[in-house]
Symmetry: C2
Subunit: 265 residues, 2 copies
């Protein structure tokens, strides 16, 4: 059903060939960080219908929605549980949306019962505290998606299909909420350290400037100016980060490794 | 099929009961200002499928898309032209998405020919100059939606259904692209004039402070502090603005009217 990846994340021209987030991890991270999604449902005539919804996710990445049974999408779901959710990385209006990450989830919505309902309510309230009142109204229905298909697009020519099993078992990147701020901090206050990292660890001893363009649990990406022109560099954290506050220590560690190597040179 | 408006824009508690944008105008304005949409298509099995697309619109508000026939949504459209587009007002990630405006359009996509194809290409290139190359590739298909259903949501409890005819004949608000900047300018540099307008023209001679919360071709909305508590005030431009650069002159006019009245008092 889904097209092959045009360009896998591992085929980047960056020198460091260490681990990158898998497509399943990319998808889980985007969904875990989202508060909103576009819900696609089916009308009584089987036509598609798009609407905006609050989104939360359970521990296995299953989307949780709270939808009025009076609204069109709510009536659609009660009549036919097939649904799709488009989840996009939050971005500023001036940014290129097609360059930003997004995930399509497709499957069937069900109304959870017992412990599953309790878990769905906890997930929803954690992301949307204001929905507490909705959950107590008869005209709102709590829905959880059984995810059957996952399609991740990371930007231009970065995309892949993810199995429902891989999606459910992948872990969202714990540092994703801090990544943009960390990247900004590295570029503003530690430009010298970035150049040292690239010279010592990134295979470009002649690097003249380096700008960090991304950070994840496994490493950082940089755009580098060298004597031979621009280059993309990937530097890997060893070990990978497993806690939300790990980016600082991991980048300090990279800096120390780089300076030790440069001191020996 | 669609639920009734829970709260029509005209029933605001604001004093000035002059004209406001109609739901059809609100919908046209949101769609005209959007560069992206979520496209909902149908898979071979009739399941809904959400994806992100570049959006443009023709002179009658018909959505124009350029979609790869190799991508899942492109294959879906070639097999079944039924589609829906969710179009949201661009907002910053920290803003409440459910408080922002959005429009659901639903209908059938067709591949335009002749003059209609030329017009669609012009519309697409005006909004997305980078798509020029796509239009010359065989694997990209130009699509135009025959809009059959329109649902506008202006935020919490502001929503209405719009007929396809009203949607097509409504004009997007010419001042929408400048409105946010104008509101900021009024609040930052002309807070005194806003209070004078509200005192003289808004029915609150005891207004102590006034903050402009929105501007459109027909007038401005304000939140006002009075001796009796907070109030919402609507002030109408006479005549309505019909050009993109008309906001400045219209607000100067309001200020002059207010000052003349206060001078007579």
């Amino acid at each position: 059903m889904s097209q092959p990846a045009a360009h896998s994340p591992g085929s980047s021209p960056a020198v460091d060939q260490g681990p990158r987030p898998s497509p399943a991890e990319e998808a889980r991270t985007i969904v875990a960080g989202a508060r909103m999604a576009t819900l696609c449902t089916l009308t009584a005539g089987g036509d598609p219908w798009g609407s905006l919804v609050n989104l939360a996710t359970t521990a296995d990445g299953s989307p949780v929605l709270c939808v009025s049974r009076l609204a069109e999408h709510g009536r659609n779901l009660l009549a036919d549980p097939r649904a799709s959710l488009l989840v996009s990385v939050a971005r500023r209006p001036e940014e290129d949306a097609l360059a930003a990450g997004r995930v399509t989830l497709a499957g069937r919505m069900h109304r959870p019962a017992g412990e599953a309902a309790a878990a769905a309510r906890v997930a929803l309230l954690a992301t949307h505290p204001g929905t507490a009142r909705c959950l107590d109204w008869d005209d709102f229905v709590l829905w959880v998606m059984d995810v059957q298909r996952v399609r991740w697009v990371g930007g231009y020519a970065k995309m892949d299909t993810v199995s429902a099993e891989d999606y459910a078992s992948a872990q969202p990147d714990p540092v994703a909420p801090q990544a943009a701020g960390a990247v900004r901090h590295l570029n503003e206050d530690h430009a010298d350290a970035l150049v040292q990292m690239v010279r010592a660890l990134g295979g470009h001893p002649d690097a003249g400037a380096a700008v960090c363009t991304g950070a994840d649990r496994y490493g950082i990406d940089l755009e580098v100016v060298t004597g031979h022109g621009p280059a993309e560099v990937r530097l890997t954290f060893t070990p990978a980060i497993d806690a939300p506050d790990g980016l600082r220590q991991a980048t300090v560690q990279l800096t120390r490794r780089a300076r030790a190597l440069l001191g020996q040179a």
